[in-house]
């Protein structure tokens, strides 16, 4: 399996804007002056991200390079500050990263302060997505903290003229184990102007010896969420602040023909901005802003555009227009698919589809923009503060150095908050009004003007021997994406290709990306082959792969679930699915109940086994897995964006059904802690097994094979096709 091109193409799905690496522009001396002296360990931005052993790139004086990915600072007053451009969106990295630094620095977690996602204070970061915080930033920060610890030991050794081997770090102090003489980190940092990067091989604590990392530390600022005192972007205010509203076109790609703003402009203290097709309002309060918006009369010219009814045909027939120098097609071939299919005892060809779905972060896109002369500060909930800074600079025709983007811990994102739309809009309004402007998108705007998880069509053709050995695997994914497109099963003849399409709707990143679609197609198809051969679906899977980590999660899930203990019936079905993605191994078993009269599907029980190397925070990981299972229920059973000729038909929570309490199955999580393996991210992969496990359980009960997400039994027969053996 070739990871690299997939990673690159996937990056483009996250990031349609390419950029040059940012060069950190503070002089070293200024840098420490700003921080008030002390000891600083920086992580070079050019370090090879995922390689173990850390990066060695410091200049001859051992000083920090110009470009940093993050740093840890120890101040004279013992304050330990970690600066990282990562954002907290509910995935709990403010806690898990602090744990890892506390572990290596031998201090309590309460001693660590994380400064996150402020383009004026934190180093450049490409963004918080792709389950990369734990394997990359976590790994780097552990290295940096271990380096800081060793540096402090060296400093104490020098001060006391003693052997560093006799000194140990604990509880924020260096102690001489022979003399019991001790000194705090702050005292050591006093009067220092010391900056270092990470040596090639810092003495990082192995996971088996972890005492703070690896434990269920509670969310660091949990109380602020339980009391409502945490201020999200949408809760912030500034002196003299106005409230913004934007006039939305009546359909996508519509152009403004005429605008009558006379009624709106009669409303006192209202500022109207009309700049090209952008029409917005700023008013002293939200009520007035809404009233003024509703008083605008606009006429739009709508372009004919593809509707939902023709979606899957359209995706198949309309490849993405070629971008110069960029080849988005991703084709992986091994063996010969023709020979593989010819040598098979049985072949199977099926097509699977996934709908566009919405992220529905409960905090809608929001921004508060404030100008000070030509300098712009914007608070906004985004996963990519630095690219939003550049977006703002470009849209407002100012240099990026004049823009500061600050991301308060945000009311979730799920891949949906990569762009700076609300930030740009608020800034345009604030510029015109000469006052700070806050803009919070309505739920309808969220459902319409954000972007969606790509819809997709996946063709799978397979060949298998009578004994259950897979010999051919052809997999063509139109538009959904390349994440987890490679099969984890051992097939000698493979042809796997991603075909990007010209998407009728604006699409982009989503929690799990295409791993959800690709697992749905692959693991449904695997189930179909097992049934074709009258083999147990679990045994069929185990027979066809040699990955011990994948085997371990399949066996753990099956054991806990009691796989095979009970037979499916017409009203009760059992299904299994699993896979590997972003360093995480997942297996999911589902039990569903089918209502014989309504044909409604209810998921009764889900058992999920997950392994992502050494677990950093067991309770945090469990929370992520449980949450991923619940979120996956939506895409599996009911979520779909309906659209017609440039209009979203269900842009409200009353029409777009998301999982609620009543949909909750009993969720049992089995976490395999591999302390011998590096920690991988866990925000995404726990989602991917649910939909195929549920679809396979529906089949086990009803013998109806559903090949479209969401899985809907209503209109029985509409989605079903008989299995074809050759």
């Amino acid at each position: 399996m070739n990871q690299a091109p997939e990673f690159l193409i996937e990056d483009r799905q996250h990031d349609s804007i390419r950029r040059l690496a940012h060069v950190f522009d503070l002089e070293r001396r200024d840098f420490l002056k700003l921080l008030g002296g002390g000891v600083l360990v920086g992580i070079s931005a050019s370090s090879p991200a995922q390689e173990s052993g850390g990066a060695h790139r410091q200049d001859s004086e051992g000083n920090i390079p110009d470009s940093l990915a993050a740093w840890i600072h120890i101040a004279e007053d013992d304050a330990i500050t970690v600066n990282t451009g990562k954002v907290e969106i509910g995935q709990n990295i403010r806690t898990s990263l602090a744990q890892q630094v506390a572990e290596e620095l031998r201090v309590p977690i309460s001693a660590i302060q994380l400064v996150m996602a402020d383009t004026a204070l934190t180093p450049f970061d490409a963004g918080t997505f792709g389950s990369r915080t734990t394997p990359i930033m976590g790994h780097q920060l552990r290295n940096a903290a271990a380096t800081a610890r060793e540096l402090l030991i060296e400093m104490a050794a020098q001060r006391w003229q003693s052997d560093p081997a006799t000194l140990s770090a604990a509880d924020g102090k260096i102690t001489n184990t022979k003399t019991q003489q001790s000194i705090t980190y702050g005292e050591l940092a006093k009067g220092q102007q010391l900056a270092r990067t990470i040596p090639a091989d810092p003495a990082v604590t192995p996971a088996k010896d972890w005492r703070i990392a690896g434990t269920s530390v509670a969310k660091v600022n949990g109380r602020a969420f339980a009391t409502g005192s945490h201020r999200y972007t949408s809760d912030l205010t500034r002196p003299g602040m106005l409230y913004g509203k934007v006039l939305r076109p009546s359909a996508f790609h519509a152009t403004l023909i005429s605008l009558d703003a006379s009624a709106a402009e009669k409303i006192p203290s209202t500022k109207l901005v009309h700049d090209g097709d952008f029409v917005g309002i700023a008013a002293p309060d939200e009520y007035t802003a809404t009233r003024a918006l509703n008083a605008l009369r606009a006429q739009w010219k709508i372009m004919p555009q593809p509707s939902e009814s023709e979606l899957y045909n359209y995706l198949r027939k309309n490849p993405e227009p070629a971008v110069k120098g960029v080849r988005r097609r991703d084709r992986q071939v091994s063996g010969s698919i023709e020979q593989g299919l010819a040598s098979a005892d049985k072949t199977l060809a099926q097509t699977y589809t996934v709908a566009y779905i919405a992220h529905v972060p409960l905090e809608p896109r929001a921004a508060l923009a404030e100008w000070n002369g030509n300098d712009l500060t914007v608070w906004t909930g985004t996963q990519r503060p630095f690219s939003v800074r550049d977006e703002l600079a470009q849209a407002l025709r100012i240099s990026p150095e004049r823009v500061r983007v600050i991301v308060p811990d945000t009311g979730s994102a799920y891949g949906g908050k990569h762009m700076g739309d609300a930030a740009v809009e608020a800034s345009r309004l604030a510029k015109a009004a000469g006052k700070p402007v806050k803009l919070v998108w309505t739920r309808e705007e969220e459902f319409t003007w954000a972007y969606f998880r790509p819809a997709g069509v996946i063709d799978v053709k397979s060949g298998v021997r009578r004994d259950g050995t897979l010999v051919a695997w052809q997999f063509d994914n139109y538009n959904s994406g390349p994440a987890a497109i490679a099969t984890p099963y051992d097939v000698p003849n493979q042809q796997i290709e991603f075909h990007p399409s010209d998407s009728p709707l604006r699409q982009g990143s989503y929690r799990g990306l295409a791993a959800t679609a690709n697992h749905f197609a692959r693991e449904t198809h695997m189930d179909e082959i097992a049934h074709l051969l009258a083999m147990d679906p679990l045994q069929f899977r185990l027979k066809n792969h040699s990955d011990s980590r994948l085997r371990a999660v399949f066996e753990a899930a099956a054991n806990k679930f009691g796989w095979g203990r009970e037979k499916s019936s017409a009203t009760r079905g059992f299904g299994i699915a699993g896979g590997v993605e972003k360093g995480g191994y997942v297996a999911t078993c589902a039990e569903v109940a089918i209502d014989p009269s309504t044909r409604n599907v209810k998921i009764l029980r889900v058992v999920e086994a997950f392994e992502c190397g050494a677990i950093v925070n067991p309770n945090g990981l469990r929370n992520q897995i449980e949450g991923a299972v619940v979120q996956a229920i939506g895409g599996a059973l009911f979520e779909a964006v309906h659209f017609e000729n440039g209009r979203i038909l269900n842009p409200h929570l009353a029409d777009y059904r998301v999982p609620r309490f009543g949909d909750l199955p009993r969720i049992e999580v089995e976490m395999l802690d591999r302390k011998d393996l590096p920690s991988a991210g866990a925000g995404e992969t726990p989602l991917v097994g649910l939909a195929p496990a549920v679809g396979n359980a529906i089949f086990a009960a009803t013998e109806v094979r559903l090949r479209a997400l969401p899985l809907v039994l209503e209109g029985l027969g509409q989605n079903s096709t008989e299995l074809k053996g050759s």
């Binding site: 949990g222 409502g228 201020r231 205010t237 009520y287 799920y414 949450g627 309490f661």
Partner: protein, 153 residues
């Protein structure tokens, strides 16, 4: 005409339009931002506050209909630095991820336990059905409500 609101034990005289949503008044005019906007349709529960002890969706409630009644928001639950048992139970069970739904969720749970101090699991699921946690922490929220109910003795 000015409207008088009694919020968390304090009275506020406000000159606001009768039909301004209570949510907007609480957040934008009284700076009580613990109560959240989630949908404006009464579908997600993030804006839940108590009106004379009963849960309402403040995004769909005109401020005039709250005049003269006792309004309790998330900011009013903590007493003398002590969290309400439901708040404590949410913390103990880490029944949140991003935390945006949490204030509305807690207000809904407080109301549920007021009307039914010892709800069954089914009654909790039914009682909380109008609240959305997009991060999917429902199982933990049910456990938190059960924990708080057990303190009711």
């Amino acid at each position: 005409m000015p409207i008088v609101l009694f919020v968390n034990g304090s009275s506020h005289q406000l000159d606001v339009p009768d039909d301004e949503p209570l949510l907007s008044v609480l957040r934008n005019r009284l700076d009580l931002t613990g109560t959240k906007y989630g949908c404006g349709e009464g579908q997600c529960g993030a804006c839940t506050v108590l009106l004379d002890g009963k849960p309402i969706r403040s995004c769909r409630t005109p401020v005039s209909s709250a005049a003269g009644k006792r309004i309790t928001t998330i900011e009013g639950l903590e007493q003398d630095g002590r969290l309400h048992p439901v708040q404590q139970a949410f913390l103990d069970n880490e029944a949140f991820q991003c935390g945006y739904c949490t204030p509305g969720m807690i207000m809904g749970a407080v109301a549920l336990l007021t009307s039914n101090p010892r709800p069954s699991e089914q009654e909790i699921l039914r009682g909380m059905q109008g609240h959305i946690c997009r991060c999917g922490t429902y199982q933990r929220i049910v456990a938190a409500v059960e924990q708080a109910a057990n303190r009711n003795g």
